[in-house]
């Protein structure tokens, strides 16, 4: 019998702001897999949103979160790829770069904190692979989703920069695929799989951002996938919430349901769609649910 896993849960900003369905489904699935989430009561934004404008502010914000986790002696788990890569990157920079560490600790001292470098941070997908293990998830499957054809979108920050992520090949990602396949669903390949969703520049140039999402939706659709699986709230916003706008803007129909990975896994674990917040999705997922019902 393996011991239960415990993590400090870093919620981030985008999920409570607009993507509750991801949080709801993830909490259900993690609890079913005996992963315990400890609430992080005093976190602040990971820092990534302001990095383009002020790197030092990003590092300081991330460092404060890392210190909070160190105080509780727990490793961090996140659902957002942006939070994941930022906390991981800063954790690593501060552990390796003594000069930076002492500079940041000077700031932190003023708010009675000190970065020590005693914890790790992981995206849930990395934790699934490395901590929970595929076998343990496979054993919990109650309703294999065979007959369902989906495609994956990892999102840039799950995989890049490789120096920071390092547990999958960004040019040919396999981790999320293997996690999808153990639900019984087929995960199809499509061109330019690791490409960006465009979210990070939507506040600067909407057209460029939406063109990026449109291209991905086209590729996924052409590959014959019945749904796209995401593991990041921002990517999900681009493909699900923005999909109808993209359709209007480019006069092109996709009608492609976009699920959070925990929603897909949750179905296979035996949860009902309502429990996994399927009703919160903008693109109607009923065709997928029909296929699942027939299984």
């Amino acid at each position: 019998m393996m011991t239960n896993l415990r993590y400090l849960f870093f919620l981030g900003c985008t999920i409570p702001y607009r993507v509750s369905s991801y949080e709801i489904s993830a909490r259900k699935v993690l609890s079913k897999l005996d992963v315990e989430l400890i609430e992080m009561s005093d976190f602040n934004c990971c820092g990534l949103p302001v990095d383009p404008a002020d790197h030092e502010m990003m590092v300081a914000l991330a460092a404060r979160n890392l210190c909070l986790a160190e105080q509780q002696g727990l490793n961090i788990i996140t659902l957002c790829t942006g939070c994941a890569t930022t906390l991981r990157k800063v954790n690593r920079m501060l552990k390796e770069n003594k000069e930076m560490k002492s500079r940041i600790n000077e700031y932190l001292k003023e708010i009675d904190m000190e970065f020590k470098g005693t914890i790790e941070t992981k995206h849930s997908i990395q934790a699934f692979k490395e901590d929970l293990g595929l076998d343990r998830i496979r054993q919990a499957i109650q309703r294999p989703l065979s007959g369902l054809k989906v495609a994956e979108h990892c999102g840039c920050h799950l995989l890049r920069p490789t120096k920071v992520a390092g547990y999958d090949d960004p040019e040919d990602p396999a981790v999320l695929k293997s996690l999808i396949e153990l639900t019984g669903a087929e995960c199809v390949d499509y061109p330019d799989e690791p490409e960006c969703c465009g979210y990070t520049v939507i506040g600067i140039d909407e057209k460029v951002a939406l063109q990026l999402s449109r291209e991905k939706l086209r590729h996924v659709k052409m590959a014959g996938a019945e749904a796209l699986i995401t593991v990041c709230p921002s990517c999900h916003l681009m493909f699900d919430v923005q999909q109808s706008r993209i359709e209007r803007m480019f006069k092109e129909k996709f009608e492609l349901p976009v699920l959070h990975y925990p929603q897909l896994l949750g179905l296979a674990l035996g949860f009902a769609p309502e429990e996994l917040s399927f009703n919160d999705l903008r693109v109607d997922p009923s065709r997928i649910l029909e296929i699942v019902k027939e299984i």
Binding site: L11, C13, T14, P16, Y17, R18, S20, E23, I24, R27, E39, M40, S41, D42, F43, N44, C45, P49, V50, D51, P52, A53, D54, H55, E56, M57, V59, A60, L61, R64, M93, M100, Y107, L108, E110, I111, C156, H157, R160, P161, T162, P170, P194, E195, C196, G198, Y199, T200, V201, G203, I204, D205, K207, V208, Q211, L212, S277
Partner: protein, 177 residues
């Protein structure tokens, strides 16, 4: 361009600041600017470059190497990097392309070039702890959905930290649309 005088119509050579590359290279993440040999792998790998007429990472790096400081830092296209890090991962020369571009944007901010979105994000973080202003209704709905209450950030601590690193500069400057 709004206030053109006769003088400014004259064709002038681009202003060159040969020390600009050093300014970039001394920032965290800017160190590798000097080893870029202009192969163009970054631009050909860049998702934005496929859809933008003007955004070319290779060009921006060359301009920075040459010391075309003002034009580089004031260029709106500087802000079109999606931070996907494909350029960094693929650079055969080990240039931290995305980091160098980020350093350039950071330097632009110090010159007062701040796209409004970043002032807003910084001000939200300062005021709420979150990058977005989460509507009260959303917070209330959490309990209906069976979710725990939204964590509350100790704002005086975060505010102090932002102040210490000089992040308030971002919040104050809301000049650009």
């Amino acid at each position: 361009m709004m206030h053109q005088t006769e003088d400014s119509i004259d064709v002038k050579p681009l202003r060159i600041d040969p020390s600009f590359k050093r300014e970039v290279m001394k920032e965290d993440g800017g160190e590798t600017l000097k080893v870029c040999f202009q192969c163009g792998t970054c631009t050909s790998s860049c998702p934005t470059a496929r859809f933008s007429d003007s955004y070319r990472p290779r060009t921006i790096l060359r301009m920075a190497q040459l010391g075309i400081r003002e034009k580089t830092l004031s260029s709106p296209t500087l802000w079109l990097c999606t931070a996907c890090f494909t350029c960094t991962d693929r650079c055969p020369q080990g240039v931290e392309v995305a980091n160098v571009l980020r350093v350039l944007r950071n330097l632009a901010v110090r010159e007062g070039e701040v796209p409004r979105i970043y002032s807003e994000l910084a001000s939200n973080i300062c005021g709420t702890g979150y990058a977005y202003r989460i509507p009260e209704q959303r917070e209330k709905k959490r309990s209906e959905l069976g979710l725990p209450p939204l964590p509350r950030t100790q704002l005086e601590k975060v505010g102090k930290l932002i102040d210490l690193v000089g992040g308030t500069r971002l919040i104050r400057s809301r000049r650009n649309p």
